[in-house]
């Protein structure tokens, strides 16, 4: 590991100022930074510790929604009674992620910024070609072992999947990320790889996530996060779905539906086509199954990840049927 200098920020402004310097990186829970520094993927010159800052933690939930401080821990948010009541999918996405030890360390702000688990991204000595790490160098994943790679939102330069769960639940419910001076919807916060896979979010140098807000909704209250994987616990999703549903007063017709996917795309993936197909209809297993297939519009596989195109719609369908009381 390369030597780095350590700065304990005494204010958010000081942290932002220091983060303007090239080679500097913010440290919160450290679960991604330490991991990638050990892999040789991140080699910061300065680490700016923001964990001592006040005012960046805390979880508030009221009738309008939730505000979650960037330094709130994954575990705290998962277990928060208000979050569990108003946003079950958010709570579940966190408690199904990582391990208890990691959830006690990792913060919500850092969680959004976790990096891909692409094996080729993570071993620079063996696989020097990676557009995400080193723009223009190539992509080692294409033609390699691609079981966990994305089928949606890929480009000619990158097929690495976004590994997180929380952000999937957040985009389903139109959450907004606060960046100090500005706010951005979580959906817009993440970028498609396109020709610039090294740019994963709209976060600018010197900016810091301070909080996430999630507006309350009936769909969010009736929501779930379904995560499918080979191992029962402590594995990234083969495919996951965050789904929220609100019926009309008749109790059968869909008024509002939110669907987002994880484990299958280069960023947290909102499946608006599925939502549109079912809003205003009465759900049945057949209509749900057919609509769920729309989530895979534009999907492209690269060898071993082909199964995701079959699997993901089934996950979406099960989640919709569950919140719709049909499964």
């Amino acid at each position: 590991m390369r030597d780095f200098s350590y700065l304990r920020a005494s204010s958010a402004d000081e942290a932002r100022q220091a983060a303007l310097q090239a080679g500097s990186v913010l440290l919160a829970g450290g679960t991604t930074l330490l991991d990638l520094a050990k892999c040789g993927v991140m080699e910061p010159e300065t680490v700016i510790d923001i964990t001592y800052l006040s005012g960046l933690g805390g979880i508030e939930v009221d009738a309008n929604g939730a505000r979650i401080g960037a330094l709130a821990k994954m575990g705290e948010v998962a277990d928060h009674a208000g979050i569990r009541a108003a946003f079950p999918a958010v709570s579940e996405s966190l408690s199904l992620a990582a391990s208890a030890q990691l959830r006690n360390m990792a913060t919500i702000g850092g969680n959004l910024l976790q990096r891909t688990r692409c094996s080729y991204f993570r071993e620079p000595d063996v696989f020097p070609a990676c557009h995400k790490r080193n723009p223009g160098s190539g992509c080692s994943a294409m033609g390699g072992i691609t079981r966990n790679h994305a089928v949606l939102g890929t480009s000619d330069t990158c097929i690495a999947s976004y590994p997180g769960d929380l952000a999937v639940a957040l985009i389903a419910f139109d959450a907004v990320v606060e960046l100090g001076g500005r706010t951005v919807s979580v959906d817009d916060f993440f970028l498609l790889p396109g020709n610039t896979p090294e740019r994963e979010t709209v976060l600018k140098r010197g900016e810091m996530i301070t909080a996430i807000t999630v507006p309350a909704s009936a769909a969010a209250r009736n929501s779930t996060y379904l995560k499918v994987r080979d191992r029962q616990s402590y594995e990234f999703a083969a495919a996951s779905a965050a789904v929220g549903l609100e019926f009309e007063a008749d109790g059968r017709t869909v008024r509002d539906l939110r669907v987002a996917l994880g484990g299958v795309a280069t960023k947290p993936w909102r499946a608006r086509a599925v939502e549109q197909a079912l809003i205003g209809t009465v759900l049945s297993p057949e209509t749900v199954e057919a609509a769920s297939r729309l989530a895979m519009d534009g999907a492209v596989s690269h060898g071993a990840n082909h199964y995701k195109i079959e699997l993901a719609p089934r996950v979406v369908a099960r989640a919709i049927l569950k919140v719709g009381g049909l499964a």
């Binding site: 590991m1 030597d3 040789g40 063996v126 390699g144 072992i145 080979d230 616990s233 199964y307 099960r318």
Partner: protein, 762 residues
């Protein structure tokens, strides 16, 4: 039925052989008091890190270490240009080529991830950073990434593994019912929590090596031979091991590198492999494939088995993962043919991983047997019982003990097998398909000599001293129980010293051979020490027991007394004090009488004296039958094991609590093998890309269901001095086919290539 005397936990009998004594060193481990090899506080340490090849084949043209040498804290860089002056050490059989140089950092690259350089620095972080600055120029050569590569070819037949009798091909052709299947298992890894590594220190020409070891004496021999120093000059210390599973039985190249660096620097050196390096620096289980053809009568009597298997090996050594190891002995079979090939590819030479050979072999034959059962429309349990082997058809010898029938019957009863519905896809729980399957397992009884020392101290404590090791399987505990029983004292009056090559010689903790071997030696030494004490007590004029007229003494409840209460009784310390003795020390081994010093050395440091399961009058093996229940979500293809019942014949159990723990551990590894574990090799460069614990998946607690284990064994005094057969390896054997069979029963889909990941079922 079990012959084992029932014992309640919590009474004094826990501390005797067969009792359920809790882990002797358990408190030390859970409180952090057990010191592992990489934790020894050694003054003046330097830190070494390995640099490994990033190509699969070729040669190192040059290593540019200028930048690394200029980096902060760097003390030394070792490359293929450094002649370390080492000599090749003996193989496990004790065979050694004369004066053949040994290059632990070779110029020729034979696999991706081969160690070719090392950096030593003042801190580990500095060494890691400097290692990144090393620039290696290669001359690349064509490579073969795996045995699925068309360039790999068919490999070579291992003649010593070819086996056959009767006329298998003809009997197969004539059989009215036939099945054929090809079964494969991927590369699998040990993934011990404790990584490989060592701390090493020289004092003149004496070397001390703190290194996790399944065999302190065998590994000490390697160090002495590499460096050309007397065996006595090596001290390898390994009192605690954080998991070995077969990977820590031999000294490896990184040990030679660290020891050389320490000698050259004149400083102690610590070298720890990174987690990814633990995937390439030593071999896991080889990938295997095998074709099995079975012929049977319409009522399910086996007529012939034809087996053809292959496993990957490296380009520089033959390591067969014997796919035909269990095939010939599980069933009554009059016509049999088996052949195994090794296919050289650019990998590190594979190695032993729990249940070597038997494990992939059982996956083949036990999957094939259930395929036959379904083809016949027959209960798989009935098919197995119908073809029960009354003797070993391969060696022609009778079994010493074989209670596989009892395992099948008692396991089936405990599992509720009679409630099974035969048709695939006929059992459901909500939207989950439920399936049941059976897998039988076996592992040979391997016998080896050992040596042990007993010391009776003046304070009344008894010491058991052996170089044997405990990697969690319970050596400390069962040796304490043995001594406690012989001397009739509580187990906490016994001290056990293990894991040091300077201590009396021992068999390897591998092949399930240690417990049977070392218990025999400790029992022999303890009995001899007790006899010595009796002799003194009855004859020494200072002894209060001298004139009691007794010709022996009893040892019970912590007191030594004349039989039938005809005189005084004393504690051990009172007797030692009365005798004026500070210590009684007795050393015994289980070699034939009169073994020379050379023969003893050979016995502890090589496998030359190890006896296979059919070298005597009988064919001796442990046996088991696993019953697995799975729940499969058909939409998602996810398999969850919801219940396992396993019945074992491992002879007498020296400590049922620890044995059950070992069985469960093996079964849990089997769940991983069945559903999760697979080294993913990039065909383009032979790299195992999932070389970390985030991507190479082993079961978490959430993946482990209730596991019921049952003992059906009876003491087998042909197998070992105290009647036990091996328990460590057999637990995993047969688990994967039991689960694969249950998945078939649940879904109607037969998965013949492990692991059974979700995409194979959707």
């Amino acid at each position: 039925m079990t012959i084992m005397e029932p014992r309640k936990h919590g009474d004094a009998s826990d501390g005797t052989v067969g009792g359920r004594q809790t882990r002797f060193e358990g408190n030390l481990k859970v409180t952090g008091g057990a010191t592992y090899a990489l934790e020894y506080p050694v003054e003046g340490l330097a830190y070494a890190i390995l640099v490994q090849s990033t190509i699969p084949a070729g040669s190192v043209v040059s290593v540019d270490a200028k930048k690394a040498l200029a980096a902060a804290g760097v003390l030394m860089v070792l490359t293929p240009d450094d002649d370390m002056g080492l000599l090749v050490a003996s193989d496990w059989g004790g065979n050694r080529p004369e004066n053949q140089p040994y290059y632990p950092l070779p110029r020729q690259v034979q696999y991706n991830g081969q160690s070719i350089a090392a950096v030593v620095a003042e801190s580990r972080e500095q060494a890691v950073e400097a290692a990144r600055l090393i620039c290696i120029t290669y001359e690349k050569a064509p490579h073969v990434a795996s045995f699925n590569d068309t360039a790999a070819g068919e490999g070579k037949v291992m003649d010593n593994l070819t086996s056959g009798w009767g006329d298998a091909e003809a009997a197969l052709a004539a059989a009215p019912v036939q099945i054929e299947g090809e079964y494969s298992t991927p590369r699998e890894y040990h993934v011990a929590m404790e990584p490989h590594g060592l701390t090493v220190k020289w004092d003149g020409d004496q070397i001390t090596v703190w290194e996790p070891s399944q065999w302190s004496h065998g590994m000490a021999r390697s160090y002495s031979e590499w460096f050309g120093i007397p065996y006595e000059n090596v001290r390898l210390i390994s009192p605690f091991i954080g998991g070995g599973f077969g990977s820590k039985g031999a000294a490896l190249a990184h040990g030679a590198v660290a020891a050389f660096a320490a000698r050259k620097l004149g400083r102690p050196v610590k070298l720890a492999l990174t987690r990814p390096q633990n995937f390439t620096n030593y071999g896991g289980r080889a990938a295997t494939r095998q074709t099995i053809k079975i012929g049977a009568t319409e009522d399910g009597v086996l007529q012939a088995i034809v087996h053809r298997g292959a496993s990957e090996t490296s380009t520089y050594a033959d390591w067969p993962e014997q796919t035909g190891a269990a095939t010939p002995i599980l069933y009554r079979i009059e016509n049999f043919s088996s052949q195994h090939r090794v296919v050289p590819v650019n990998t590190v030479t594979p190695g032993a991983l729990r249940g070597p050979g038997k494990n992939p072999s059982a996956f083949g034959i036990e999957s094939a047997m259930e395929e036959l059962a379904y083809k016949l429309g027959m209960d798989p349990l009935e098919l197995r019982l119908k073809n029960y082997a009354d003797r070993d058809y391969q060696s022609g010898k009778p079994w010493s003990t074989r209670r596989l029938r009892e395992a099948l019957i008692e396991g089936a009863a405990a599992f509720g097998w009679s409630k099974r519905s035969h048709e695939p896809r006929s059992m459901r729980d909500g939207n989950q398909l439920v399936g049941w399957g059976i897998g039988c397992g076996t592992f040979p009884v391997i016998q080896a000599p050992s040596e042990a020392m007993i010391r009776i101290l003046r304070n009344g404590r008894v010491e058991v001293v052996s170089g044997a090791i405990d990697m969690g399987q319970g050596t400390y505990t069962i040796l304490a129980q043995t001594a406690a029983e012989v001397f009739g004292i509580p187990v906490d009056q016994v001290e056990v010293h293990l894991g040091d090559s300077r201590l009396p010689g021992s068999a390897i903790a591998g092949g399930s051979m240690l417990a049977g071997s070392i218990l025999g030696a400790v029992h022999k030494a303890a009995t001899a020490a007790r006899d010595e004490l009796i002799g003194l007590a009855l004859n020494d004029e200072k002894s209060p027991l001298r004139d009691t007229g007794a010709n022996t003494l009893t040892f019970s409840g912590g007191r030594i007394a004349v039989p039938r209460d005809r005189g005084p009784s004393l504690t051990l310390s009172e007797l030692m004090a009365a005798l004026g003795r500070d210590e009684i020390e007795i050393r015994r081994n289980t070699l034939p009488e009169g073994a020379t010093v050379q023969e003893q050395h050979q016995a502890w440091t090589t496998m030359a004296k190890v006896q296979g399961p059919t070298m005597g009058e009988y064919s001796m093996h442990s046996w088991c039958a696993h019953f697995a229940e799975v729940r499969v979500d058909e939409d998602f293809g996810t398999v969850r094991v919801s219940r396992i019942v396993s019945a074992f014949d491992c002879g007498r159990l020296y400590n049922p609590r620890l044995v059950e723990s070992q069985w469960r551990g093996g079964i849990i590894m089997g769940i991983g093998q069945a559903l999760l574990e697979e080294g993913l090799v990039d065909q383009r460069n032979g790299r195992t890309v999932n070389n970390n614990m985030g991507d190479y998946l082993v079961p978490t607690n959430a993946d482990v269901p209730h596991i019921e284990v049952i003992s059906v064994g009876i003491p087998d005094y042909g197998a070992s001095a105290l009647g036990g057969k091996g328990v460590g390896e057999v637990g995993i054997v047969g688990v994967a086919p039991a689960i694969a069979n249950a998945v078939f029963h649940a879904t109607g889909k037969r998965v013949r290539d492990l692991p059974i990941t979700l995409e194979k079922l959707i």
